[in-house]
Symmetry: C3
Subunit: 172 residues, 3 copies
């Protein structure tokens, strides 16, 4: 079931509380991205609720409301399995991966969950090569307040290319 | 006539009101960018005043104070014509276009208009190809408060390449 | 000696003062980037303290705690020398260079200095060529309040590629 409210207007731009919330989520996403870029993959699942949903799927599927994706995890335990696999079993050459995100929109604010979206840009640098744009797309996030920070209840990462990036070793 | 104040310092960084304004404009630009990226081109002219100015021009012309550009619209009605043309008559292969903007500067704040600038980065993904950086540049905007949101009085998009991006089908 | 606190959590996301500080630094970095992109190199050293440290170094060296870099300046006077060299003596073809930064993290706030980090992306456009991603990486900054603005006490720019970008004519 699609829970993303596509056509809704963002909450009023007059509302100061929304901007503080947006600023807090922006700062938290910056920490999330740094966790991935610095390859502290073991800390990655901690950004998610125990009961959560994480997927990376192509734009075509997302447009049709199909959740079938390259990666699909339905709990933090599954994310931990994947983190372990990335760190211990995956075979891939050394590379730097940088995540950029922009255009953050707070779509909907409910007492227990915030719906947010943003564009992402991933730049990959292989040893002895120039950097290249590896993937772009949009994330559709459901974010829960958790103490003085946040956790993902759901994160859907929709990439725009039909090409399956077969070297997608670090999550989005 | 050039209305962009190039050398002026931004308003004082001590002023909290400026940061709320900057945050509001940042959030509004995120909505603008999403309108384009999600190809809701029919809604694009609504981000502009009835009496407005929109242009996409090369850096060389901008540096000389010449307004001659790839696209030039002098009213919302002209933007609507262009939006209609993009949706109904233009021939182009399917592609995803993502806009990123950054480095937002509030140059000048007057009672009825805010001068703002930011860098833009456009990434294009053709079917079965990897994403590529399509265009970069800087926008020089005149933004008017409109109810609880904003509208462009003027938007000048200055791209850096001499190459005319002949597949520029989605506005900036 | 490495002064960057790598594993520390950012200051609490509940703290509103932190968000105003983050917003101010974000706005100031936007001015810094614009100074470089608009090639006002003579103004670049003014963003630094008299006693300061500036380096551009590869990720490999940074990971090992080695400060050896492509560029290394240990005072504003050295930055002025370099700015003069860029403007008066360096030979390079015309090009546009755009800096993007994202994922700003406020790592540590002390009475006289703020430790901040962010990712950077540099896009270069040569005459009659398409734009290309020239460099990506992360900056580790020590920032001092200075009047109603800021100045760098230290700025370490860590790029991810092993390739030495031999056309790095504009600073990061």
């Amino acid at each position: 079931m699609r829970t993303v409210v596509k056509k809704a207007r963002s909450p009023s731009l007059q509302d100061e509380a929304i901007f503080l919330l947006r600023a807090r989520i922006d700062a938290w996403l910056a920490e999330y991205v740094d966790c991935l870029d610095s390859k502290r993959i073991e800390a990655w699942p901690d950004f998610f609720e125990e009961q959560c949903f994480y997927t990376i799927l192509p734009g075509e599927n997302h447009a049709l409301g199909l959740e079938l994706g390259l990666i699909r995890c339905e709990s933090r335990a599954m994310l931990k399995d994947r983190a372990y696999a990335i760190q211990k079993t995956a075979m891939f050459g050394p590379r730097d991966i940088r995540h950029f995100f922009g255009g953050l929109i707070i779509r909907d604010v409910r007492p227990d969950v915030v719906h947010a979206e943003s564009n992402f840009l991933i730049v990959e640098t292989l040893n002895d090569e120039m950097p290249r744009v590896f993937a772009v797309g949009r994330t559709y996030d459901e974010i829960k307040p958790a103490g003085d920070s946040f956790r993902f209840k759901a994160r859907r990462c929709v990439y725009t290319s039909n090409l399956i990036p077969n070297t997608l070793v670090i999550p989005i």
